[in-house]
Amino acid sequence: MQTSAAKDRTGAPDPALSVRNLTIDLPADMDRAHAIQDISFDLIPGQILCVIGESGSGKSITANAVMGLLSKALKVSGGSIRVGEIELTGARPSALRDMRGRVVSMIFQDPLSALNPLMTVGDQIAEVMRAHGVGDRASRRARTLDLLNEVGLPDPALMIHQYPFRLSGGQRQRVMIAMALALEPTILIADEPTTALDVTTQAQILDLIRDIQRRKGMSVLLITHDFGVVAEIADSVVVMEKGKLVEQGPADAVLKTPSHPYTKRLIAAVPRLTGSDRVPPQGFASAPVLKVEALNKTYRSGSALMGTLRAVPAVRDISFQLAPGRTLGVVGESGSGKSTLGRLVIKLLDSDSGRIMFAGQDIAPLGEGEFRRLRPKIQMVFQDPFASLNPRSTVGHSLTVAPIAHGMDPRSVRAEARALLEVVGLSASAYDRYPHEFSGGQRQRVGIARALMFKPKVLIADEAVSALDVSVQAQVLELLDRVQRETGVAMIFITHDLRVASQICDEIMVMQKGRMVESGPPSQIFLHPQSDYTRELVAAVPGGQAEMDGARP
């Protein structure tokens, strides 16, 4: 995991990038004075330095400061950023522009939005060279083809004419990397380059970055929130909290023997791939509360008349059953049909065929009117805690509006809502406040409280912790576990993160392209996977192997 350069400190090469006492001010009315405060670190040539921290830690601002791409509201108020011999703070905009793409390149988090939708891949890569006056049309084209080849994209001659929307997330990220490499920069900054990608793609992109870094002897500054990525790729680590640098050192040392309490807490909070099974809550009936049999759903678009019919099977022949107090994890990559499955069970979507046995009857064929009576008993917690609460409603209103609409007594509903807010770890005073006054984790607690208002029998959590920082993630998982032990609610936990699934699930179902590939307890899925696809998924978990080998604290 360590490159030779990391160990080879004897020569003490001049740092490729040196940040000294860097302080960046926030606008006056923010909750703290500095975006980052008194940060110092060195990026050694030929090394990968990971800057890790939770949202709001200032890690992305650090990266943008190096690129000279800070938004206008932010001002560097002290310290220095040196690339080689050149001081970047206070440099003229034209000088900074000249550095960008030539000496320092950057790749971004979301490859879906980081490419201009109206330009071909080839044009976007060639544009870097054009901007710096390198080569002529023909030579730029040749170089673009080389680059596409180098980042492992198939058929460069064809790829050069493609528009970004035709490529998968992983392919787009490869295009971004090709663009960043065009002028052979000495420093590559990668801001959460794999966060938006599926695990298997994530592993490939990390491999590519490391491979290229080694071949070119580049220095990489990689921003991440994921200790798995750090374990996988970093030579050294900088840990940031609320704009301050709390710890730095070689990756191994920081991961194995963290010294700062924040680092310790962060590492402890990282969901780990456990191979051990969960001890299910006791004292609940073992008869299944929900039984799904041979469920199918195909998305259709276009019209048969015009001959443009497209049918995408999203859920194919899925069966499972779920007992009270148990959690079924549904894992898979994007497009595997796991979210569709959740929506079918809660009847936000109608299934094509199959049975959903709940409360003694098949709910699959029920119309909206007939199902309404049962709807309160199956509830959902959504992924995005920012989008799933009405910003114009108080928390109390969001919690009580549905039960009251279902004819429950308003007074007791309100009392119940206050009580539930306490249960999910908020205070009853949250009742009168608006969603924007809460953090992401707190909002997700509100979302859980909202789902629990009806005392549901089944709770569907669709990526319920994916948008949260790890430390918050751990708390929310704990909350879900506690709620389940207290109420015996059965849970379908949909996630792309195998580590999270391994924490909370009694049984895990692996889905691929709408089909169930494998299902079993975590010990089977993670230690003795039966299918190749599951094996591939487990192997791709960043830092996964290290954890399973017990190499981690």
Binding site: F108, A114, L118, V128
Partner: protein, 316 residues
């Protein structure tokens, strides 16, 4: 693409039929009718009136009149004007180019200035320029066009005597310069509202794009701020504007009623107004169908252009 066009053509035909039915019916519901003007002619008897009605075919049931009109229309016969007995096509053609000149000029002005104001307002958001532009747009939108027209005439024609108060050309002159000087005031008055609309849309479209990740990517590539703006921001921001421009197309030919009236511009707007007051059914129906066709055509062209520019959209 072919099936898309076929599909749209089918839809358009149905729409046009519906428009023509509604137009024809409503027109005949208006009290008075084309014979009302003859009623006041001295020496007019009821018999004369009936004879006229028979000659013009107005004594037949409305259904029959409609299908007769439709059948002729399909054969390319738009009918003759009740007012001067000239073919409708000729009447329209005579007014068309005056409107085209006025609307075309005004559109070029409004799109040019509006786009510029919109982009600058977005890139310099909450600056003095942005506030002035926003307030200016509100003023331009809330004050009726004829008021601007009258104030313009008062200031530039009566007081300063820089520009003519109306008409398209001076009788007996008709040189290019003469046309140009007559064009200035009506086209700017007309453009005022469109600049306001266009700049507001452009501003919000630019703001939508300006914070997108690919704009940051473009900067990270080391592009100049100018190229980032022109190529990556404006290129994407103009996409939704194409649809807006398509919706403006019918205005280009159907003219501006108020402005043409204020400046006595002999365009389609005034033709429509005059024909309505004369109950000149054939001309009114002709204008109605023309603007319906143009509306559909404008939308269709916009859809096709968007598909050509935006690779993500394929017409199927």
């Amino acid at each position: 693409m072919a099936s898309f066009l076929l599909n749209r053509l089918g839809q358009s035909i149905i729409l046009l039929l519906i428009v023509s039915i509604i137009g024809f019916t409503v027109l005949n519901l208006i009290p008075g009718g084309p014979l009302a003007q003859y009623a006041l002619t001295p020496g007019m008897t009821q018999e004369d009136m009936d004879r006229l009605a028979r000659q013009m075919g107005l004594d037949r049931p409305l259904m029959v009149q409609y299908f007769d009109w439709l059948w002729r229309m399909l054969q390319g016969d738009w009918g003759t004007s009740y007012r001067d007995g000239q073919p409708v096509v000729d009447v329209i053609a005579r007014h068309l180019w005056a409107t085209l000149l006025l609307m075309g000029t005004s559109m070029v002005i409004s799109v040019g200035i509006g786009t510029w104001i919109g982009i600058r307002g977005a890139t310099h958001r909450y600056s003095a320029f942005d506030y002035v532009a926003t307030a200016g747009a509100m003023v331009a939108l809330s004050i009726p066009t004829f008021w601007f027209g009258l104030v313009g005439i008062y200031v530039f024609a009566l007081r300063l005597e820089w520009l003519p108060a109306g008409n398209m050309y001076t009788i007996g002159d008709g040189s290019f310069a003469d046309y140009a000087i007559h064009l200035i005031m009506p086209s700017f008055v007309l453009a005022l509202v469109n600049i306001a609309v266009w700049s507001r849309y452009m501003r919000s479209a630019t703001l939508d794009v300006i914070n997108q990740d690919f704009v940051n990517t473009a900067r990270a590539k080391g592009l100049t701020e100018r190229r980032v703006l022109m190529k990556h921001v404006v290129g994407n921001a103009l996409l939704p504007m194409i649809t807006l421009a398509g919706m403006q197309l019918p205005n280009l030919l159907s003219g501006a009623l108020v402005t043409e009236t204020v400046f006595t511009w002999p365009g389609m707007g005034r033709l429509f107004l005059d024909s309505l007051s004369y109950s000149d059914y054939p001309v009114v129906m002709g204008l109605l169908m023309l603007s319906a066709v143009l509306t559909l055509l404008g939308n269709l062209i916009a859809d096709i252009v968007v598909a050509l520019v935006d690779p993500r959209i394929r017409l199927a």
